[in-house]
């Protein structure tokens, strides 16, 4: 099975997940355009994905696509990934747009509680530094999603360091062993 990971914006703006997968593991990288868009390119990016994205995916024989964020893509099945918890809380129209655009999607994880159990592996890259609270809660949710003996691959930028507040990663977990 061929799974394509797509980043809607420039390759120069690779986020943690894509950078980790694309650069630590050697997989082919394709770009829709040879040069970045200028000005305010959101409409152009949406148009490029709508018009050229599915052609590229069909040409490369992709069976499924993992989308980071929302793009208008004529392709299925899709899995949308969005870790912007705060963004989604503030922008409900974004959720409506996601539902409209991903009518054929398999599963959608939009920064909410994960309904996944017994996973072999989870990837959590360059997200912790964006979470200013509830880090132990998020990690315990990932723990619940994994099977016993499952692996978590986590990356974190060394800068900025955590603030050291009561809910910071350094403050320890509020979840303890039951035994």
């Amino acid at each position: 099975m061929k799974i394509a990971l797509i980043r809607r914006e420039y390759i120069t703006h690779l986020d943690g997940v894509n950078r980790f997968i694309a650069l630590l593991v050697e997989i082919p990288i394709y770009t829709l355009k040879g040069s970045p868009c200028s000005g305010d390119p959101w409409l152009r990016i949406a148009w490029n994905w709508w018009w050229s994205g599915f052609k590229l995916l069909h040409r490369e024989g992709a069976d499924a696509v993992i989308v980071n964020g929302v793009v208008p893509l004529k392709f299925g099945p899709k899995i949308a990934v969005n870790h912007g918890v705060d963004t989604l809380r503030a922008a409900r129209p974004y959720l409506y747009a996601a539902r409209l655009l991903y009518r054929t999607l398999v599963e959608r994880y939009c920064g909410r509680r994960l309904d996944v159990r017994g996973a072999d592996c989870a990837v959590f890259t360059e997200v912790i530094e964006h979470l200013h609270y509830y880090v132990p809660w998020v990690l315990s949710e990932i723990n619940k999603s994994l099977k016993l003996g499952g692996y978590l691959i986590l990356t974190r930028r060394t800068w900025p360091p955590s603030s050291g507040g009561s809910d910071s990663p350094s403050a320890g977990s509020q979840y303890t062993d039951t035994t």
């Binding site: 770009t31 691959i153 990663p169 350094s170 977990s173």
Partner: protein
């Protein structure tokens, strides 16, 4: 690094491997999309800095040997951990 490992341990995940990665030190540069695809080593970074001598590229090329020598200066921490127990919430008294 110890902070990240302690955080994982507290969440019921036992760290099995951890290291400082230089991937971000190699990729945060001024490059065109096609040039980004070719960046895989310090030699590529030097070539890019010569072809496109922007401030970011020159500083990155100058700093890269240093971050390779001193791992803790690298921009990314990678930790692989394994689940060994289930988490369970406990009552925490905060205003007592």
């Amino acid at each position: 690094m110890p902070e990240v490992l302690a955080m994982l341990e507290g969440a019921g995940l036992r760290p099995v491997e951890s290291y400082y990665s230089a991937v971000n030190d190699l990729t945060f540069v001024d490059a065109e999309p096609e040039e980004h695809k070719r960046l895989g080593s310090y030699a590529d970074l030097l070539k890019l800095a010569i072809q496109k001598p922007t401030r970011l590229n020159l500083l990155r090329a100058a700093a890269y040997p240093l971050v390779k020598l001193v791992p803790s200066l690298r921009k990314l921490i990678v930790a692989v951990s394994q689940k060994y127990r289930e988490p369970a919430p406990t009552a925490t008294e905060r205003w007592g």
